[in-house]
Symmetry: C2
Subunit: 479 residues, 2 copies
Amino acid sequence: MGSHSTNTFSPLDSNTFTDESKIVIDFIADYYKNIEKYPVRSQVQPGYLSAELPQSAPYFPESLKDILKDVSNSIMPGLTHWQSPNFFAYFQANASNAGFLGEMLCSGLNIVGFNWISSPAATELESLVIDWMGKLLKLPPSFLFSGNGGGVLHGSTCEAVVCTLAAARDKALKRMGWDKITKLVVYASDQTHATLFKGTKLVGIPSSNIRSLPTSFLSGFSLPPQTLQEAIENDIKSGFYPLFLCATVGTTACGAVDPIREVGEIATKCNLWFHIDAAYAGSACICPEFRHYLDGVELADSISMNPHKWLLTNMDCCCLWVKQPHSLINSLASDAEYLRNSASESNNVVDYKDWQIALSRRFKALKLWVVLRRHGLSNIMCHIRSDVNLAKRFESLVGTDKRFEIVVPRRFALVCFRLKPYNGINGPELNRRLLSAVNESGLFIRCAIGSTLTEERHVNELWKLIQDKAQTILANAAT
Amino acid sequence: MGSHSTNTFSPLDSNTFTDESKIVIDFIADYYKNIEKYPVRSQVQPGYLSAELPQSAPYFPESLKDILKDVSNSIMPGLTHWQSPNFFAYFQANASNAGFLGEMLCSGLNIVGFNWISSPAATELESLVIDWMGKLLKLPPSFLFSGNGGGVLHGSTCEAVVCTLAAARDKALKRMGWDKITKLVVYASDQTHATLFKGTKLVGIPSSNIRSLPTSFLSGFSLPPQTLQEAIENDIKSGFYPLFLCATVGTTACGAVDPIREVGEIATKCNLWFHIDAAYAGSACICPEFRHYLDGVELADSISMNPHKWLLTNMDCCCLWVKQPHSLINSLASDAEYLRNSASESNNVVDYKDWQIALSRRFKALKLWVVLRRHGLSNIMCHIRSDVNLAKRFESLVGTDKRFEIVVPRRFALVCFRLKPYNGINGPELNRRLLSAVNESGLFIRCAIGSTLTEERHVNELWKLIQDKAQTILANAAT
């Protein structure tokens, strides 16, 4: 038991720390080495775990060996392996060594950086690194601390949306009175992420006040400016107050991009808070060849993107920039005797508790800072381009097989494809069968390339599997 | 550069992972070994860091050695060392080896567990471990999954408050219509944490609808039930709708405890959502001698506590239990084509995205699970009791010095004390001087004992320092 006996309980003994941490490092390294041996999607049935683990916490300490044995035997079979090179579902959450190192430093130092004084380095490194990211994306200076804007690291897009919606709401209601909250309207395309609905409702705006504006195949599923303009005009006529526009760069369903400049001009003209959700494709915009998707960003009030998706930053990390930090702070500031300090009162420092939902926060910036430094922009661009090239490769494989078609033109590393109708059986039915057949092997039909470990051979094998399953389905459909 | 050269960029190479991770482990272990050498509170001036680090991200990768050098030289001086045994500020955020190991496993596996299918083990282990914690606190079965309630791991109390407020709000507004949102009222004592104000405003209820009910020294700064009852009656008479009561077990300012059963009975009678915020003192309630502070918890709709404060769980970890999960889910569920799956549609599984603000989430349960197993209840109780005993020791030291007095009776490991008035100078002024004098050494007057590494000698040295500073101040006041 060593330092873990009851008489001399030393839960932060540095020798035990070193020994046991290194055992876990080896355990995780083994996992990465063997990750291709696991089925990507967990094959367990609901409730499997409660049959394998005890129903209450142990009274006496257990050994790390026993805990890791349970991780291997009981947890691993219940994992969907997001770091597998054969993971093509949702959007990737790509991990990297650097992301892991940064996370360790954050967890090891374990400070709580709610305001500047509670750990100045946590605040100042975050302001620095969010300016770094803003510069990589060539955001206008008005979004950077160095240009009187600023940014913050959130855990998720939903948090960024909730905070910006609250800021926009409070700015409007201060003028109009709180009872107008039921008349505020939020606009987005029907391709926008579900978090916008969740966030809108969370801040007290009725769900019925979200205008989910229709897109179509013809417009590449991007928001038609004219549709936005008409919706705003209709709402004003009906006595509503247009509040907030959320445009997306890289939608979840098919990677569509809204026309930032055109919708931004409408938002500006109509005095809407204009937010850009670049959760997925924002990472690609560090490469010059993708940056044009952000053209017009200078019209936005806020923009967010998630390095935890495609920028080699382990979960979680979402960057949010705002042009007017005081709008956020007016909504989110909290004050209490135990939080007062001369640094905050001087107004010379950032207190990040006033930029986010929670009061407490980890030393979030370390992770992104280590990622950017250890990898360097050169390698990170190479990583993005490699994924895009693999997606192109997959797209061309689909293109050579006449039974299939590409549904939406590929922009980034997401390929949306389907079986064409066959022998009187419609496309949707065939694709349901294909999706189901492919998923039994632990994969998904909507193919998002970007797991850190994915190489060309994994993409080739994926395509072969899809073709095999398609052949069986079409053979059955023929009889 | 090894695997980090541009041509063969392998950001998740398992050999590099092992080598570099172990270097960081040694770095953190050294930090713990030398932690007493640092001043607890950072001595830097606002803006110090931007003078030391470059203003943009590097193009080429940098070595881990260079990064760690910057952590030592530029980050460390800007830290307030929350893990120092001489840290007695705010409430502690106590780290432990086990918490760190769990965090490493979470970061290494790097799955995204928004719904059951996206990683069944992440969901099922969370449901298991939150039931474990509920049983340690002797919560009634109605709060456990095994009793048709359930719980979730959030990052912070504010998130728990926002989610329960939204659930209560939506339940009420469904009946009354959304335009009544401006008439909903939230109750708490004037000692409640600032997060309640923030959360209430976030969910769209006007700040003016928060009743911050007066407490006094006579009632030990706990909420007088009669005051609550009268406030509710007044609001009903004035056309408001009483919605939500937040009671606290262990307030931030002085560790006060609201009378759970008495205020709970009023909440039940008046049909309020009754939430208990046990962020700090909830951890103590795993010890039988403190459990009575939760008596009456069966009257609550929800209760939250933070293992990241006092339960040896590295940041962040907040447990929230609810009796009626469907109330949370009705408010927070999001649905989208890319999230549909047969497991969710079967209603046999928990989808934690519907229990929290964000969609995405880490494998949060691993950390708390490893903490509970590696330490065991016996050691964790020993840890709580050791802190309480040190606080008693400090309290008795204060009691032996006639120049000082204890402000509020100590209940847990927080001691609130002050200098008595002296030579015509009032108490507040003297204590401002003492607070300022003590803080220059990197400490605070409100003494919260609980950092993992704190031993009796640190408490003795703290007291000696306070006495020295007091002597100087009183000597000056005498002249």
